[in-house]
Amino acid sequence: MADSTLSTFTPLDRNGMAARLARDVPEGWYVNLGIGIPTLVADHVPLDREVIFHSENGVLGMGPAPAKEAIDPWLINAGKQLVTLRTGGCYVHHADSFAMIRGGHLDLCVLGAYQVAENGDIANWATSENDTAPAVGGAMDLAVGAKRLWVVMEHQTKDGRPRLVNHLSYPPTALGAVKRVYTNLAVLDVEARGFVVRDIVPGLSLAELQARSEAKLHLPA
């Protein structure tokens, strides 16, 4: 880190971010996890805490990746990875699966993002106008349909630009949808006044966190 300050801190890695988020998921919630870091969240929820994972291709009660001898080629998740079904889980068709999403039946959806704006707008599906054929999948349904949307992402881009912004510069996935953001540096709620800092990695000051964010950061009231 090219910091002029003397502070030392360790950003969370991908599993650290997933584990931090998993701590806040209570027993009994129905949860959909997006592709990427969000998928890792399931690995950090202990099995005796009954959290029911939903995959939009029609799996409710999804379990972890199978052992080699237990692979079932008919059982994949939305990322097209092989998975398992927990005891008590079931299968539904696509319209019912998205009724769970769009009808507000999921307690939580966790998505990755390119940017989140201080009003809760999220951009996570397209970066530019004409790079390749666009692809959206279920992101727009999940973002507006679940009871709450949490985002997990790096605090800044690889070249150091902030992802917590005043206004999106990428095409939006949904407006005013994000309730909380977990980054490698902090946990922030999205409230009416903007981003409110709930948690910072040890050794990092609020001023240093602010310097890595475009949007104004607030302290809890």
């Binding site: 994949i76 068709h93 998205f98 390749t132 054929a133 999948g137 095409p171 939006p172």
Partner: protein, 226 residues
């Protein structure tokens, strides 16, 4: 005696016209009616509109249908995959039209078609590029986008078990779009891994009742590729 089971692929494909809207089941390679797509390739209909979640991968199945120039337009939610190069090349060359639809809206538009609902309002995609040019209305305090039903001329689907009335079950996540597509087309053709006697399916376990199915062909191919 009602018998929807057909013996040959040529019989299964009868009547699919040029310009047809074809609904293709499957999510990735699971639940995808590969043999029926091969049958459609053989049958020869062209100028098709294909509705599918993905735009094909590798060089077989849907990718082959695209490569042969038989598809004018594709309606899907996620055309990108590490091996969807056939579609990408056609798209970049301007040789295929793409209508990108959020996955839940795609499923719901077909459910609506199957249920006689002509259109519906949904909050999904409000404020995004995918709502451009569509009617917006505030309903119960939420901004919603008007989406029209998406009926098919033909649905090609994959089932696990079928009987001669066309009652169907599915295999795990192979269910996906297949049941909803079965309801949304004028002509629904299913390939099934197992044909069972009428009465052998538990009535509580039938997912697609035969009223939604016109033809069934036995294709015992085994497991999808991992």
């Amino acid at each position: 005696m009602i018998d929807r089971i057909v013996k040959t692929m040529a019989e299964a494909m009868t009547g699919i016209a040029d310009g047809a809207v074809v609904l293709l089941g499957g999510f990735g390679s699971v639940g995808q009616p590969q043999a029926l797509i091969d049958g459609l390739i053989e049958q020869g209909a062209r100028d098709l509109t294909v509705v599918a979640n993905n735009a094909g991968s590798g060089g077989e199945g849907l990718a082959k249908l695209l490569a042969l120039g038989r598809v004018r337009r594709i309606v899907c939610s996620y055309p990108r995959s590490p091996s969807s190069t056939v579609f990408e090349d056609l798209y970049k060359a301007g040789k295929i039209e793409l209508e990108l639809v959020p996955q839940g809206t795609l499923a719901e538009r077909m459910r609506a078609a199957g249920a006689g609902v002509q259109a519906f309002f949904t909050p999904t995609a409000y404020g995004t590029k995918l709502a451009e040019g569509k009617e917006i209305r505030e309903i119960n305090g939420r901004n919603c986008v008007l989406e029209y039903a998406l009926p098919g001329d033909v649905a090609l689907i994959e089932a696990w078990q079928a009987d001669r009335w066309g009652n169907l079950t599915y295999r795990r996540s192979g269910r996906n779009f297949n049941p909803v597509m079965a309801t949304a087309a004028k002509l629904t053709i299913a390939q099934a891994q197992h044909i069972v006697e009428l009465g052998a399916l538990d009535p509580e376990a039938v997912v697609t009742p035969g009223i939604f199915v016109d033809r069934v062909i036995h294709v015992p191919y085994g497991d999808p590729p991992i």
